[in-house]
C-alpha cells in the first residue's frame, strides 16, 4: 500500500471516530453550603453542565423571549441589585406596561419549593412561562420563542453544546434557564463568614443579630432567611391593586393577604420592599414591623409590638447589611454574557 493511501485510510478512520464520538458536556457539581438543608430542585431530572448553564445565561439576558425583543429576564432582575428590579415598586414590562407586583430577587432558588409572591408556580422550570406569557411583561408564547430561537445560528450551537444535539424545544429552553438560575447561590456574605468563624460582627451588627433572632427569624429563618411559607405581615390593602395574595391560588379564605416570605439575602440592594414595593428603604420596613396596628388577621408572632429604640433599629439595619454578598452581586459568571 502506498504511503498516500495509508494516510487517506488513517484520515478516514480519524474522521469516522470523530463523527461517532459523543460530545460530552462538562458536568457541574452543585455545592450545598455547609450547614444548609438539601436543595429542593431535583437535579437528576436536569443534569447541570457548564454548557447548559451558559445556554441558560444567554437566554436569561436575551430579549428574544419577549414579543418585540425589548424585555429580557434581566430587565426586571438585575444582578447588581440581587436580581430584583431596583427603584420600581411595581415592575414594568413590554411597552412600559406596569404589572401588579414588585419583582422578587433571584437567589438560592434551588431551595425554593414554589415561586412568585403567591406561590402559584410549583417548579422552577415552569416559572419563566409567567413573564413570557404575561401581557404586561413579555407578551409572548413559549411556542413562538422556540420558533424564533430555531432561526438563530448562535442558539443552534449553544443547544448542541448543552444537549448533545441541536434540537430546540420548549422543554430545553426551560431546563436551560433553570440551569442558570439554580447556580445563583449566595452564601458568602459577612453573615456567612461570621458563622464560619472567618469574620466577626461589629458590636452594632451583633446587637442587630440578637434582635433579628428574637423578632424576625421565625419567618426569615436562617440560613436561607425565609421559611418558604406564606404569611400575612400586617400590611393594609392597597385599594388600587386589591391583591388578595395566596388566596388567588388556593381559593382558601385563610390565605387572604398572605404572600411568600421573601429571603433577606442581599436585602440591602433589593429595594423597594414588600410585594407592592411600598417601602423605599429598610428603615421604613422596620418601622412598619415595629408597630403594626392590631387586627384579627395578624399572626401571633407579629401581635406583640417590637418597640425597638432608634438605636436598636439602626443596629438591626446594620445586621441586615451583613447579608450582602458582594461576591454574588459582582460574580462575572452571572453577568451579561459577552460573546
Amino acid at each position: 500500500m502506498s504511503r498516500q493511501s495509508k494516510n487517506i485510510i488513517i484520515g478516514i478512520l480519524f474522521l469516522l471516530t470523530a463523527a461517532f464520538t459523543v460530545r460530552k458536556a462538562t458536568p457541574v457539581y452543585f455545592e450545598t453550603p455547609a450547614g444548609w438543608p438539601k436543595a429542593h430542585y431535583d437535579f437528576s431530572k436536569n443534569k447541570l453542565t457548564e454548557e447548559g448553564f451558559e445556554l441558560g445565561r444567554h437566554l436569561f439576558y436575551d430579549p428574544i423571549l419577549s414579543k418585540d425583543s425589548t424585555i429580557s429576564c434581566a430587565s426586571c432582575h438585575l444582578q447588581a441589585t440581587a436580581f430584583a428590579h431596583v427603584d420600581h415598586a411595581l415592575s414594568h414590562g413590554i411597552e412600559g406596561k406596569i404589572g401588579t407586583r414588585n419583582s422578587l430577587s433571584l437567589v438560592n432558588l434551588a431551595w425554593s419549593e414554589n415561586f412568585m409572591w403567591d406561590g402559584g408556580v410549583n417548579h422552577l422550570d415552569m416559572q419563566p412561562l409567567n413573564p413570557i406569557t404575561s401581557p404586561v411583561e413579555m407578551n409572548e408564547s413559549l411556542d413562538h420563542v422556540v420558533t424564533k430561537i430555531r432561526k438563530s445560528k448562535k442558539y443552534t450551537h449553544l443547544f448542541d453544546a448543552a444537549f448533545g444535539d441541536p434540537e430546540i424545544t420548549g422543554q430545553r429552553v426551560l431546563k436551560a434557564l433553570s440551569q442558570f438560575e439554580v447556580m445563583l447561590v449566595s452564601a458568602n456574605s459577612k453573615y456567612d463568614k461570621v458563622m464560619r468563624n472567618e469574620a466577626q460582627f461589629s458590636q452594632a451588627e451583633q446587637n442587630g443579630y440578637q434582635l433579628f433572632k428574637i423578632n424576625c427569624a421565625s419567618c426569615h429563618t436562617e440560613p436561607l432567611f425565609t421559611n418558604n411559607h406564606f404569611e400575612y405581615n400586617g400590611l393594609s390593602v392597597d385599594s388600587t391593586l386589591n391583591d388578595s395574595g395566596r388566596m388567588k391560588i388556593t381559593n382558601n379564605d385563610n390565605d387572604y393577604l398572605r404572600f411568600k416570605v421573601p429571603t433577606l439575602r442581599n436585602v440591602q440592594f433589593s429595594f423597594p420592599y414588600m410585594h407592592d414595593g411600598r417601602y423605599k428603604n429598610l428603615t421604613e420596613v422596620i418601622k412598619h414591623y415595629n408597630n403594626i396596628p392590631n387586627n384579627k388577621l395578624l399572626p401571633k408572632q407579629l401581635g406583640v409590638a417590637m418597640n425597638l429604640s432608634d438605636n436598636d433599629r439602626v443596629d438591626l439595619v446594620s445586621f441586615l447589611k451583613t447579608l450582602t454578598d458582594n461576591e454574588f452581586l459582582f460574580n462575572p459568571r452571572f453577568s451579561f454574557p459577552r460573546e
Partner: protein
C-alpha cells in the same frame, strides 16, 4: 429495460404491498372520532345544542393518558405513548397506536382525560407534554386537560367567545377523569360527542372557565360523558 429490472420492480411492488398490509393488520390502535351527535365535528360550523345554543367550535384539544387495554383473558397492555395530546386540527394525533395485533379479544379500555398530578409538578416535560404546546398554565402551575373554544350568540362576551380551559391537579379540584369503555367491535373507535358536553352547559351563563375549581370540576364531569364506543 432488462428482464431483471422489470422483475425487481414487480417484486418490490408486491413486497411493499405485503409490508403495508402487514402493518395494518399487525397493530391495533384507538381512533378518536370527534363528532357532534352523529356527524364528524367540523370546526367553525354552526351547530345547535340540546340547550338551544347556536355555537361554533374553533379549538378542541385534550390529553389522553395512562391508557390500559384489557383482554378477555385478563392480560393487560398499554400504548408506548403514555401522554397524548389530541388536537382536532391535526388528525394524526387522533390515533393512538396500542399494541401488536393478536387474536385476543379486548374486554375493556381504561384511560384518563387529562394529565395526572405527578406530571403537573415535575417541571419541564417533552413531546406532547412540552409547555410550548400551550397546554400548561403560567400563573398557576398545572396542565390544561382540555381546551374547548368557540363562539355563540348566546355569549354576551367579547366577540361572543366562549372558552373552557379545564384543569387542576390539587385536591379537591383534581380535574383529571378516568373512564372505561367496553368495545364490542374489533376496530377501536372511541366517539367523542361534543354535543353531550354542550347539552349540559347553558352558554349564556357559563362561557368562560379558565381556572381550577368547582366549576372546572363540573365541566370535567360533563366532558367525560362525551366519550363512548359504538
Amino acid at each position: 429495460m432488462s428482464k431483471v429490472a422489470w422483475l425487481s420492480v414487480i417484486f418490490s411492488f408486491f413486497f411493499f404491498q405485503f409490508v403495508l398490509a402487514q402493518e395494518k393488520k399487525d397493530s391495533i390502535g384507538a381512533r378518536f372520532q370527534i363528532s357532534f351527535r352523529n356527524d364528524p365535528l367540523q370546526l367553525n360550523k354552526s351547530y345547535i345544542s340540546d340547550a338551544k345554543d347556536t355555537l361554533k367550535i374553533s379549538t378542541l384539544r385534550f390529553y389522553i393518558s395512562g391508557m390500559k387495554v384489557e383482554y378477555t383473558d385478563a392480560t393487560v397492555t398499554s400504548p408506548k405513548k403514555k401522554y397524548a395530546l389530541l388536537d382536532i386540527e391535526n388528525p394524526a394525533t387522533l390515533q393512538i397506536p396500542i399494541a401488536a395485533n393478536s387474536n385476543k379479544k379486548i374486554s375493556k379500555i381504561t384511560f384518563n382525560i387529562g394529565v395526572d398530578s405527578l406530571m403537573s409538578v415535575s417541571g419541564a416535560m417533552r413531546g406532547d407534554l412540552d409547555a410550548s404546546n400551550g397546554m400548561y398554565w403560567a400563573w398557576q402551575s398545572g396542565y390544561i386537560n382540555m381546551k374547548i373554544e368557540g363562539t355563540s350568540k348566546s355569549c354576551k362576551t367579547r366577540k361572543n367567545e366562549f372558552q373552557f380551559h379545564i384543569g387542576g391537579y390539587l385536591k379537591p379540584n383534581y380535574a383529571m377523569r378516568t373512564i372505561t369503555v367496553a368495545p364490542h367491535k374489533s376496530d377501536l373507535i372511541i366517539v367523542v360527542d361534543v354535543a353531550e358536553l354542550f347539552s349540559k352547559i347553558n352558554l349564556s351563563e357559563t362561557n368562560s372557565i379558565m381556572i381550577p375549581g368547582a366549576k372546572a370540576m363540573e365541566i370535567a364531569d360533563y366532558a367525560s360523558k362525551m366519550f363512548r364506543v359504538e
